[in-house]
Symmetry: C2
Subunit: 228 residues, 2 copies
């Protein structure tokens, strides 16, 4: 029997890498990557394609959302705003927050999902370790599911899945390893494309996750501060 299709937005980072691996257990994969003028786009796109190849994704689509760059308001897209350094316990919203990015990402994913009648969109948002992004929280996805229910064709029936939303990064690492997810192909650094600097929020969360899981992160870094 032909498997159902899931659209998975994938940045190429660790969380989406594991989300792809989780989706691959049940669905044929339609992987979606957004280019929105982020600093490390070239490296992220490479990670996306490497992961798509590894997982033998049936479909892939790379979307340009350069309006998120022209709008600015984030250190990921505006070179004049510095990337927040690791602040793992901060409750504020870091400069890397791209305004409402995940709504843009999900909207594109649902548009794509409606055409081939995919049954799910699975996104790798993680709430507890999410650096404080408002669009990484459970309530955002719950609300978005309702938008999808009322805003698509009645026959579409697309479910928004957030399989890692309740996981800490160490659990994401352990899950990825258990599934054989290609974590060695993922990329998380917000600052560099050749080697992780290990000092941005994203690197710090990732490294701490590997450290807490007791596993060495296969990605190369300039340094490996102890974040546990």
């Amino acid at each position: 029997m032909r498997r159902e299709l899931a659209v998975v937005p994938a940045s190429g980072g660790m969380d989406s890498c594991v989300t792809v691996a989780l989706a691959a257990r049940e669905y044929s994969l339609a992987l979606l990557h957004l280019n929105y003028g982020q600093r490390t786009e070239t490296r992220e796109l490479q990670a996306f394609n490497d992961i798509a190849d590894f997982c033998q994704a049936e479909h892939r689509l790379v979307i340009s959302m350069e309006h998120l760059a022209s709008i600015g308001g984030s250190s990921l897209t505006d070179r004049s705003i510095p990337v927040s350094l690791a602040a793992l316990r901060s409750k504020g919203i870091p400069t890397s927050y791209v305004p409402f990015r995940n709504a843009n990402s999900l909207s594109a994913a649902v548009s794509w999902a409606e055409v081939p009648e995919a049954s799910a969109v699975s996104i790798g948002a993680a709430e507890e370790d999410s650096s404080g992004y408002p669009d990484c929280r459970r309530e955002f996805y719950r609300a978005f599911q309702e938008v999808v229910r009322v805003g698509t064709k009645p026959t579409s029936g697309i479910t928004i899945l957030t399989p890692v939303i309740g996981m800490q990064k160490d659990e994401i690492v352990r899950t990825g390893i258990a599934l054989g997810a290609p974590l060695h192909l993922s990329w998380s650094c917000y600052q560099r494309e050749d080697i992780g600097r290990a000092i941005c929020d994203s690197c710090a969360l990732r490294l701490r996750g590997f450290q807490r899981a007791g596993v060495e992160d296969p990605v190369q870094y300039e340094q490996r501060p102890l974040y546990t």
Copy 2:
């Protein structure tokens, strides 16, 4: 006192033209146009710019959302799907439905609104005369408001406004005329860019609106069938 800012997604059609005029009474205007590879994009963009000039919009942004074209699934973006002819009483979803387009549009509008701290996004969706698009209904915008509330910075406080959602097209025409909205600069035909064919859904709804309002539509058409 400086007026608050509203982002208004504007296709260049009649409904968004009147929505711009309504917003201009209270807000400074940030007008947003989406190019998504639709058949009549050149003409729509001209209408958008003409309306923005006429209303002296403070900001304007034209966004390319070509993924909606590459995704397809609509007669507006896929030349192999014929544009639905006027079917004013049909309850089905016409071929011109662009999957989840208004969620993409609203997401971009909210991203833009967050950066300069706009207080509203006002969109010209009309429910009753909407050709049956699921993303033109009140419940879609109510659900999206909740996504905005939980998915943006707590300080953003962006309100989604749908000032014409309950209006029939004739009321939109009358409102536009009362406000001096530049209806002569708007463009609605889904098929042609030089002169309205007057046989697509969009032309038929527009013409019927003018006819019911007892006003001559200032736009040129090949023919003017009686749609009342």
